[in-house]
Symmetry: C2
Subunit: 203 residues, 2 copies
DNA sequence: ACCAGTAATTGATCACCGTTCAATTAGCAT
DNA sequence: ATGCTAATTGAACGGTGATCAATTACTGGT
């Protein structure tokens, strides 16, 4: 047994981390971000509040890690796709993964955007890395459609698409753009616009 | 003097409403949504917490009204634009208004998206109406570029653009897509994509 | 087997929070 | 002057995030 053996023999640091994140995920799925509190999470895993603060820097850190897990799952969902599909098809498949994920876990998904850091603090580096990882998938997918574009242009278009997808999904989730259109249709249009513009550039 | 005269002769209901929203706006501008609390707003306007609950249903209602004010200002900024400009130009001018507004009042702007309603409750009707008003401006602007599109298509494209702009701005604001690109450039691309796709449809 | 050291765990404590509501008070009409 | 009504207060309730001294459970060394 390593030096990180659990004190109470109950749970190791890592197990505690997983337990807490599972509990937080459960709470968010049922009640949204407002349902989360350090005491609540602690209670649900059979510990007390102090233990949460032993594992996480603070409550924002806990949410960051939950969001990190969410991004990992989005990444995994996208990694399960055929990477050799036709560019346009692949782009639509990627979008479909996001939409399906958001539909299956709406409160988890919206937490990605609802959670803002307190004023002095920025998200940690690993958080940016995870976002970059998701963006990279999109960059790789659109690169073939923009053969004459340089790196910056591909990066920029990926951000436009990614932000657009998130904007559409999260606005729909918040009931802020109630309309006859579903998120899937709107994202479809977003991609159509991109693809047609890209095709035009090729001549 | 009407029947709504102030009791304490200090402030009428409407004045109280304005005072509270001004204070809330000030707090948000300086400290973001986290800085807001009923007691804090009350203190800043020289009243006590109960008075806030006499003017607003609850704290979510207060934020809704603040967001309503924010949307009114966005609307006003857009109304100040030349409505007869060339469609493409007008679209870019509209986008510029959003970007400038977000740059000038970043915390106010992000509150539009950070604030989510508690689970059982939806935003009030007037809130949806204000969103619809903003969308309508975009619809009117893009309609000329899609002469053969029906009402639903115009609606959908307006939502795509609107959500895209908000996605880009709010992601940038949250530091979630740190990159070499500025929001303005990305929104420019979003609009380019739309316009090129629209142009293609015309033949 | 014991003990010292270390890390995990607790729960009290602090200053807040949203929300309610009985009690008070201010201004009005009579 | 006297009610009536609406505005205003502030105490009360059950929470919150965060800190931290005290306790406990385990470790490795002897």
């Amino acid at each position: 047994m390593g030096p990180n053996m659990a004190r109470r023999s109950d749970h190791s640091r890592e197990e505690l981390y997983d337990l807490a994140l599972d509990a937080a995920g459960r709470i968010i799925s049922e009640e949204g971000l407002r349902g989360i509190s350090a005491r609540r999470v602690a209670r649900e895993i059979g510990y007390t509040v102090g233990t949460i603060y032993n594992v996480f820097k603070n409550s924002d850190d806990l949410i960051d890690h939950l969001n990190g897990q969410t991004m990992d799952r989005l990444q995994a969902a996208c990694d399960g796709l055929d990477p050799d599909a036709d560019a346009a098809l692949r782009l639509r498949q990627l979008a479909r993964q996001y939409i399906e994920f958001a539909a299956a876990h709406p409160r988890r998904y919206v937490t990605l955007f609802e959670h803002q850091h307190p004023m002095g603090s920025r998200p940690p580096d690993w958080y940016h890395d995870k976002v970059a990882g998701l963006l990279h998938i999109v960059e790789a997918a659109i690169a073939p459609t923009l053969p004459s574009a340089n790196r910056d242009e591909v990066e920029a278009q990926a951000r436009v698409l990614w932000a657009g997808v998130h904007g559409i999904i999260s606005l729909e989730g918040a009931g802020r753009v109630a309309g006859s259109q579903q998120a899937g249709d709107l994202v479809g249009l977003l991609i159509d616009n991109f693809l047609e513009a890209a095709a035009k550039k090729m001549g």
